[in-house]
């Protein structure tokens, strides 16, 4: 009888302890703005954006809207507020990608670039990316804004390894260059052609 009573008391204490620990845990759950500083997937220097956002007409509320709501369910409202404060890719990318009026290096804002890397960019993607790049270069340029990302490898002259055209292509590139010069132009500028063709050389 005594053992049973002791066991019941222990069980009660254990349950109370577990419940109170859970309550404390929930109460200590960091808010979204507290988690912000721990985020490795995105970095937003507020001070650096103050003036430019002011010139564009909205400083804080473009990303942290204060729009009116009639929602009174606090649990739902809390989740909606978290969602409304999430970084808005389109706003950032207008300057950093589309207009390029702000720094374009991905790692400036995404310190851990693995969080934004496409799933198909696995460890060997470098060796097999050619087909996808030929099919739609625009997709590559969504992230690789600086053309040097391509040319650093493809224009290397200190290596015998040709990364785009097959060996001896220089001797027989004329036909393709006349048929579709735009294809050449996607990597080579006019100066590249002139280096050899200057002075009336065919």
């Amino acid at each position: 009888m005594k053992i049973r009573l002791t066991f019941s008391l222990c069980l009660m204490f254990f349950t109370l302890f577990a419940v109170s620990a859970e309550v404390v845990k929930q109460g200590d759950e960091p808010k979204w703005w507290e988690k912000r500083r721990q985020r490795a997937d995105i970095f937003f220097p507020h001070n650096a954006h103050q003036e430019i956002m002011k010139n564009r007409g909205d400083v804080c509320m473009a990303c942290h809207p204060f729009s009116g709501t009639k929602l009174t369910d606090l649990k739902m409202l809390s989740k909606l507020e978290t969602l409304s404060n999430e970084p808005l890719e389109a706003i950032c990318h207008e300057c950093h990608v589309a207009e390029r009026s702000a720094p374009i290096a991905c790692e400036y804002c995404h310190p851990d670039t693995s969080t934004i890397r496409p799933v198909d960019h696995a460890f060997d993607y470098k060796t097999i990316h050619g087909e996808a790049a030929i099919q739609d270069q625009a997709v590559c340029r969504l992230c690789h804004l600086d053309l040097s990302f391509c040319t650093d490898c493809h224009f290397r002259r200190n290596s015998s390894h040709r990364v785009n055209h097959p060996l001896g292509y220089r001797d027989r590139h004329g036909l393709e260059a006349r048929m579709d010069p735009a294809t050449c132009g996607s990597c080579h500028n006019a100066g590249y052609c002139r280096e050899c063709h200057r002075g009336g050389n065919p």
């Binding site: 956002m53 400083v59 999430e86």
Partner: protein, 290 residues
């Protein structure tokens, strides 16, 4: 035989009661007849006995057959010929605006430009003389500061209010103190030292408190009775599109339909202690290292 009949009668009564339409709280009564002289628009159909029915106001077909929790109030025709910018706009299609409209306590001067002291008593226990108030502790309110706005305004009337109604950290209190000194304003906290409506908003119309005094400083772009001015912005569409997937996921998690308010750009501000549009108000509390 008689008791069988009695039980059948009870079951039928229960069935009828269960089939009764469940209405949300504060819903306009249905079944009543219109007051004399009330002339609703022609599209607002009445019942067979000229009584108010669901279809008088709602354009959703067979609304009464849809369970209350499944009714989607965001569809355009939820209120006939909707959507409306506010619910009261819809109400005034039948009810006379003048006379029925709740007075705006923030309009504190009468037509002759004299301060209507009765308006002060909406919040204050006695009408204070602004010039004689040297400390906020002299003021006696009818309710704790955090409750004064409720009733006319929701506790969470706009996004990001909930996150703000907390006790500020030491770091933020320090920033607030500096901002009060720098801008010569007040940023009052509620009775439990939490950020509340009047921390950012001033309830007094411009001129009630001398603008040289900290309590009287405010942004007043245009008349109070016109409210805050917004304008649609191309970012509004981008904002909603960007949040669409995440909103759908959230709705699935909560199993509820939630409307994300559209983003609109502030054009004119009123009753704010500092401008929000250029970020000054936010920066009074929020400081960043980078």
């Amino acid at each position: 035989m008689r008791s069988l009949f009695f039980f059948i009668l009870i079951f039928i009564s229960i069935g009828v009661a269960a089939a009764e339409i469940k209405l949300p709280p504060l819903h306009h009564p249905v079944g009543g007849k219109l007051a004399q002289g009330m002339e609703p628009p022609e599209v607002f159909v009445l019942g067979r006995q000229s009584e108010l029915i669901c279809d008088t106001c709602h354009g959703v077909s067979d609304l009464e057959k849809i369970p209350l929790e499944e009714v989607d109030s965001s569809v355009e025709e939820f209120l006939l010929q909707g959507p409306y910018d506010s619910l009261t706009t819809f109400c005034y299609l039948c009810h006379e605006k003048q006379g029925m409209e709740r007075f705006n306590v923030h309009l504190m001067f009468d037509q002759g430009g004299k301060l209507d002291e009765q308006r002060c008593l909406y919040c204050h226990q006695e009408s204070p003389e602004p010039e004689q108030v040297t400390d906020r502790s002299q003021l006696k309110f009818r309710q704790p500061l955090e409750n004064l706005c409720l009733g006319c305004h929701l506790k969470t009337p706009h996004l990001n209010t909930l996150a703000h109604q907390v006790e500020p950290s030491e770091e933020i209190r320090e920033a607030m103190k500096k901002a009060e000194e720098k801008h010569q304003i007040i940023l009052p906290l509620d009775s439990r030292k939490r950020v509340t409506c009047v921390t950012c908003h001033t309830p007094h119309e411009q001129g009630v408190i001398d603008s040289d005094r900290a309590g009287g400083k405010q942004v007043a772009d245009h008349p109070v009775n016109e409210g805050i001015g917004y304008r649609d912005d191309p970012w509004g569409g981008v904002y909603l599109e960007d949040k669409k997937v995440r909103l759908a996921e959230l709705q699935q998690t909560l199993d509820k339909t939630i409307e994300l308010p559209a983003y609109r750009r502030i054009e004119k501000e009123i009753l704010l202690r500092l401008p929000a549009r250029d970020g000054s108000l936010c920066r009074a509390c929020h400081q960043f290292q980078e």
